[in-house]
Symmetry: C2
Subunit: 453 residues, 2 copies
């Protein structure tokens, strides 16, 4: 097994290739910078810090139950593009990045169809991707940009040279197709991996649905995320073809040290989310992967939906109705039962006339764990825009991405939301896919290696 | 004339609306922060600093002829989203923002067709836009997000609450249609404003071409830029309809304090650009606006092209050929005649066999002022991506935006490039438009007010 990088052992990495005498650059890759996020997240960002330690720190912050930077606005946050997340696990069963990672500012999501039916082709692709992602997350290229005297095609397309790691994480997922008749891997299928059935209100476009593989590249610089997906897609040529892609901007879920961002409907999104170690263990990480699927222990499932918003209709709605739709106030994001953003909603609180303060068909009343047998999912979405639709109106929405230890939890919620949610008048689910996300590999290994044993 | 904001005199501005007791937030709007860019650009960013002073400082930095932060990578640069650019001019003839402004990280460009034929409708729109842009550039909303008790439609859609000014600039342009028979403004037409004729290699899509008005919103946060254009488009309803829009990411031209960014072909873009006061006076700002067009003195012309890149073909080309196409090296951006990035290209330097080191049909040999009667244009482009094309390949390219005191200068260059540029094999011009960009208004006035006198 070779990687692009190993094929070019003499390649300078991005840092030395660019500014051999620039000390700033070298240290930038290994310092956590001066930003507020840098200081608070130092343990998370320090180069080489184990994933385990990182999880511990994030967990500690989350375990307080409150958002430590709730008073800080997103606007205050300064960006440190030298921050990096380690790719390799330091112990078995640690998760890939991009799941519990504090949401970065940008995300490119792409799915692929396998065009091979040979398991070793998939295996080689996963191995090459793993080595390349490790390079990319360290702020390096996937190989030579300018081969000696330019004689040869560049292994790396070069547009992220000079940009730093920018907190990049690339998360790899395996779709249900990996376990069909083609590859002889059917008996290794994770217990809960199956195509999502058609759900109420679904309006799916076949061309935005499904996929055998997924890449979710998130970074604080959009060009870093785009470059990662572009160069990984190049490596897939001959083995897999691109199926669909969405470019996300402006995260729509907050991490533990962030104030809650807003979706394009203007509401805070991510207020009640999975945050504590205990919640991650109960709702996100796979503990019982099923017979033959031990390779998935410590992994998770990824459900992605491309959800279009009818912004023109939404913008013409009175704000009191918008608030009724979500069950929260627009500026503060407080539940309509009272209090402030992080007050627990009281779904029983009623007005004098007996109607509940939080409408029974509001988004939060239907989606809350209190109404769904205690089930929670980790939401980690991004806003997207596709320019204009055929009516000359803004074509935009939410790249909904969620992680959970059983996709049935998503189905349960969406079956209900699709049937009754007041929000349905303003949104349309046009894309959908589900993937098994294996844990991170240890150094010397690659994503899902155990699957092929 | 009222504005959305004036219609809601009791609206809290964004800062107080959100965190009435948060001192960080208040100062954030008025400090230049701790970032390196903040320190170097303090004069530029300080709230309330006149445009004149800003130009002076930018000019001073630029006048040294070298990039003061050439050693710093884009990756080092940390972002300060509290920086703001003043909208109003402090003296007549000062330019709008977004032209000489150090390029922000994101840009949303939109054009409009006027659906009215009444000049005062246009006048009112420009006045409302001006007042709203002043609010937006100060990090405020364009009006109430949550009207009293939610009874009413929000004047502002709310998704940029909490995000800060993020160095937003919104640049307004007037297309040739403003001076046609409809509005009785024909005798005020700026001397050089006319639709761009079809040029060699043009492959224009009617739906991405032309427009009576343009908005270029650039900011260091994409949601701030998107929100600005969205809410300004809302205000235009009944007066103008959206024609086309492009979401740019990853600037493709550098400002004086920035290292040169890269376009999606992986090459540094913006190395030789208009930078000094003298160059701006000679090539960008309009000094002789023509009979009846005194309102344009101190303004400029904006030429925008949506240029698609055939990235798959490009990525398969050997790097030595890519370098021949541009006439520069890929990693360093040095001219092929030798030296480093900022060495002046020697278009006569030849190999032993008599062929020039910089190919005569290379992009820079054809576009350089040395080959075009000394003419220069200010390039201020952004990368864009539209997802996948019908072949499942990356659909991406360059949102080329240039400023000059005569659009004939662009035509001259593009006539030549379109006919002979080696780059033509890899790009396709699919959108095009030209606009007159009036100077910034003084407080109490609005963009192009003089046009209506
Ligand atoms: C465009 C589509 C959607 C929008 C704009 C949206 C927006 C929101 C907003 C504003 C909130 C309240 C703040 C918060 O706690 O995060 C919320 C909560 C929530 N949403 Fe969504 N959402 C969308 C789709 C979905 C989907 C498809 C699901 C799952 C099937 C979902 C599951 C949830 C859950 C579980 C909560 C937390 C409810 C609670 O515990 O109070 N959302 N969403
Ligand atoms: C996708 C299309 C284009 C790409 C990828 C591109 C890229 C580049 C690159 C890499 C350079 C060299 C670095 C620099 O000095 O900035 C350059 C220079 C330049 N380009 Fe372009 N460009 C494109 C289109 C255009 C167009 C349409 C024009 C004008 C009609 C133009 C005018 C120039 C000029 C004037 C220079 C500076 C030449 C010199 O003085 O050396 N470019 N461009």
């Amino acid at each position: 097994m070779t990687t692009e990088h190993e094929q070019h052992p003499a390649d300078p990495d991005r840092a030395t290739a660019q500014h051999p005498a620039d000390p700033d650059r070298a240290t930038a890759q290994h310092s956590s910078g001066f930003s507020r996020r840098g200081l608070l997240g130092a343990g998370l960002a320090a180069a080489g810090a184990g994933v385990g330690a990182a999880v511990g720190i994030a967990g500690a912050a989350a375990a307080t139950g409150v958002n430590p930077l709730a008073a800080a606005t997103n606007g205050d946050e300064s960006l440190d593009l030298s921050q990096q997340h380690p790719f390799y696990a330091t112990a078995a069963g640690q998760p890939q990045g991009g799941i519990r990672t504090v949401p970065q500012r940008h995300c490119v999501f792409m799915t692929f169809d396998l065009s091979t039916s040979v398991a070793t082709d998939l295996q080689v692709l996963l191995a090459r991707w793993s080595a390349a992602i490790a390079q990319l997350q360290a702020g390096k290229t996937v190989g030579s940009v300018e081969p000696a005297h330019g004689n040869g095609v560049g292994a790396d397309t070069g547009e992220a040279l000079d940009l730093g790691p920018a907190s990049l994480t690339v998360t790899v997922g395996l779709g249900p197709g990996v376990f069909d008749e083609r590859f002889g891997l059917a008996d290794k299928r994770p217990a809960h991996l199956a195509a999502i059935p058609t759900l109420p209100s679904d309006n799916l476009d076949e061309q935005l649905t499904g996929g055998d593989l997924s890449l979710q590249a998130c970074a604080d610089d959009p060009q870093v995320a785009y470059h990662a997906v572009r160069d990984l897609a190049r490596m897939a040529r001959g083995t897999a073809t691109v199926r669909w892609t969405v470019l996300g901007f402006g995260r729509a879920s907050a991490g533990p040290s962030q104030s809650t961002p807003r979706n394009l409907m203007g509401f805070k999104d991510g207020t009640r989310n999975v945050t504590t170690d205990d919640e991650f263990d109960r709702f996100v990480w796979v503990d019982q992967p099923g017979d033959g699927a031990a390779w998935m222990r410590g992994g998770t499932y990824q459900v992605v939906r491309k959800i279009r918003m009818n912004l023109e209709t939404w913008d013409a709605d009175v704000v009191s109705d918008q608030q009724r739709v979500f069950g929260r106030t627009k500026i503060d994001g407080a539940p309509l039962s009272g209090g402030s953003e992080h007050t627990t909603p009281d779904f029983h609180a009623a007005h004098g006339d007996g109607t509940t303060k939080i409408d029974a068909r509001s988004h939060i009343a239907l989606a809350a764990h209190e109404a769904n047998g205690g089930v929670k999912i980790l939401r980690r979405g991004y806003n997207y825009t596709d320019g204009l639709n055929q009516y000359g109106q803004l074509d935009a929405g939410l790249l909904f991405a969620a992680y959970m230890n059983d996709p049935e939890h998503f189905e349960r919620l969406q079956r209900k939301l699709g049937a009754s949610d007041r929000l349905n008048e303003y949104v349309s689910h046009i894309g959908s896919a589900v993937f098994a996300v294996p844990p991170a590999p240890r150094k010397g290994s690659y994503i899902a290696e155990q699957l092929f044993r």
